[in-house]
């Protein structure tokens, strides 16, 4: 049924995005890249995929400028797709950007809290999370003003409202603010793909649910693991877990009670994928806990984080086997981000002369 009308509005973009997906670097590309002796070689290897964007780089560019240029390509492609999107796809793509927007707003909050000139922070903001009214936020000189402008000027208002008041921005750690917003965002996005008439019951909601559930689980697990040894109380921690996902509600309840790595492992036992991750990570890290995973210097042991990324990429890759779905846009962005991370990582390994860990990139094609 959905196939009947999908292409009327979205056929062109689906084609474009699938084309972009075919432009992603493959395992063979990565193998070639790892053989490079210096960044210039790497640049040459990236030539076919990134040509124009890398042309402006000086010889032997820094890894950060390489990352910036590769991101630029993603951003320009994303903007092209967004500009051509209509209706619910446009809305869907806006939702995609909210995640980056949260990071940007968190950055501005940090700057305002410390009474810095937030205008210079605009350069540091993620371009995908850029919104037109963002410079307006820089006018705010204190946190209350900023809070009000965020409510008025940004699409993030619903995420603030109800869970954060302006005093919270002052008193709570910025990470808690960020994660609260992100939780609200994920829940909203989840609700959106499952309730919007264009998407409910289509492959989009099906695939996106899987992706978002995974994201929710990953965040819940990470927050739990990372909160050990910090002042974050269990009750506060519980508030940061998204209220959906394959772990919800039993898993998240157990997570909220977990005191150590073992507790987290027990909490996620119900989900086969995570169980195997934790078993692998447990073997690699020994009883020392999550902090020692991948052993600091150990090269072959993959960290939990790596395995999550791997899993995310596999789900994203799987998305392209479906048709008539917006989810491919989401997956394409995620795959592309991973590709940028891979390139940066490889460049970093080459620049720092640490070839033994160069293989830690994640390639699914």
């Amino acid at each position: 049924m959905e196939g009947l009308l999908f292409n009327v509005n979205n056929g062109y973009l689906e084609g474009i995005v699938r084309g972009y997906r075919n432009g992603l670097l493959t395992g063979a590309n990565y193998t070639n890249m790892t053989q490079c002796e210096n960044i210039d070689d790497l640049k040459l290897q990236l030539g076919p995929a990134y040509g124009d964007f890398l042309a402006a780089l000086p010889p032997n560019p820094s890894t950060s400028s390489l990352a910036a240029k590769t991101t630029e390509k993603l951003v320009s492609e994303f903007r092209y797709v967004r500009a051509n999107a209509v209706g619910s796809l446009a809305k869907f793509m806006d939702y995609l950007t909210y995640g980056y927007m949260i990071d940007n707003v968190a950055l501005l909050i940090t700057g305002t809290l410390h009474e810095r000139d937030t205008r210079e922070l605009l350069d540091r903001c993620h371009p995908l999370g850029w919104f037109e009214t963002m410079p307006v936020l820089c006018v705010a000189t204190n946190i209350e003003e900023l809070y009000n402008s965020v409510l008025i000027e940004t699409p993030l208002a619903p995420y603030f409202k109800g869970s954060l008041i302006h005093q919270d921005l002052d008193e709570l750690n910025i990470e808690i603010v960020r994660n609260t917003l992100y939780k609200n965002y994920l829940e909203d996005f989840y609700r959106f793909v499952n309730s919007h008439p264009d998407m409910a019951g289509t492959p989009t909601s099906e695939v996106m649910s899987e992706l978002l559930e995974f994201e929710a689980d990953r965040r819940a697990i990470n927050i739990t693991l990372n909160s050990f040894g910090t002042e974050l109380s269990k009750a506060d921690r519980k508030k940061l877990y998204p209220s959906f996902g394959s772990l919800y509600p039993e898993g998240t309840l157990m997570l909220s009670r977990a005191d150590d790595f073992e507790g987290v492992r027990l909490a996620v036992e119900g989900v086969a994928d995570y169980k195997s991750f934790f078993e692998a990570a447990g073997l690699g890290g020994g009883p020392g806990g999550p902090g020692n995973m991948a052993g600091g210097t150990g090269s072959d042991g993959r960290s939990l984080e790596d395995m999550f990324y791997q899993k995310e990429m596999e789900i994203a890759k799987g998305t392209f086997t479906r048709q008539f779905t917006y989810a491919i846009v989401y997956s394409w962005v995620k795959l592309r981000e991973q590709e940028i991370r891979n390139i940066t990582w490889i460049a970093e390994c080459i620049a720092q002369n640490q070839k033994e860990r160069i293989g830690n990139y994640i390639s699914v094609f």
């Binding site: 940090t110 700057g111 910025i174 965040r219 910090t230 600091g296």
Partner: protein, 263 residues
């Protein structure tokens, strides 16, 4: 050289000669000691040891910092963004500090830094809460190790800077003693000696003159005496002295004249 050369402004007396000799001896002893100190500082095990360690540590540092940057790259990878700004803003109180202590090398007090971490203040515990927190913590450990290496290097370097200063001072002193004080003292001694010799010679000459005069006086007195005696004798026993004088020369002349004819 001797008189015109650089010397102490002293009167050339035997007392100052004694003083100068004592000074020279002192300078030589001091020179020996300082030379040994300088050698102790530069030669056997200290400075080359320190510099070698600095050199090594500096080279090692390159490696350590590379590993550390890679771990920061890992954080960027996992967090998926740059955390620099947030880190800069959330830094409040130093967890990693240094303490200075002293070490004695050949009588020179060298400071050494010792790194220590204060307990229980962690400005970045929450960083990367939702994503990449493990990498952040690991990166912190890696960088803490790197900073420890840097602190060690800094101690070595401070030690070197101070030691370098001390060595320079000691060497300057050794050189001053060797090239200025000792030659000058020696010059002074030489000068005093020569002055004293000169005085001696003058004295000797004077004495000789005195002696001569005395002799002459004596001779005159003798002659006077003789004359008086002769006069006395001439009055009494006049023939005695001329008899001896005339007979002997006459004998010799006669004998020689005979034998020459044969030859």
């Amino acid at each position: 050289m001797s008189g015109a050369g650089d010397r102490e402004p002293v009167f050339p007396t035997r007392q100052s000669l004694g003083l100068m000799k004592a000074k020279l001896k002192g300078a030589e002893t001091g020179h020996n000691l300082l030379k040994r100190k300088s050698e102790a500082l530069t030669n056997p095990n200290t400075v080359p040891e320190i510099t070698r360690r600095i050199d090594e540590a500096k080279r090692k540092m390159g490696r350590v910092m590379q590993i550390a940057s890679l771990s920061l790259a890992e954080v960027t990878y996992a967090v998926g963004g740059n955390i620099g700004y947030q880190i800069q803003e959330s830094a409040k109180s130093a967890r990693f500090r240094v303490r200075a202590k002293q070490e004695n090398v050949s009588g020179v007090l060298l400071p050494a830094f010792e790194a220590y971490q204060t307990e229980g203040n962690n400005d970045f515990a929450m960083t990367g809460l939702g994503k990449g927190g493990q990498q952040v913590q690991r990166c912190r450990e890696t960088y803490a190790r790197a900073v420890e290496a840097l602190v060690e290097l800094a101690s070595l370097q401070t030690a070197f800077v101070i030691l370098d200063e001390v060595i320079k001072v000691v060497n300057r002193r050794v050189n001053a003693i060797e090239h200025v004080i000792i030659p000058r003292t020696e010059n002074t001694i030489k000068y005093i000696n020569s002055e004293l010799d000169e005085l001696d010679r003058e004295e000797f000459y004077r004495l000789k003159k005195v002696a001569n005069k005395k002799q002459r006086d004596t001779a005159a007195a003798d002659a006077e005496m003789k004359k008086k005696n002769a006069e006395r004798e001439a009055n009494g026993e006049k023939h005695k002295a001329p008899e001896v004088d005339d007979s002997t020369p006459a004998d010799i002349l006669q004998a020689e004249g005979d034998e020459d004819i044969i030859f």
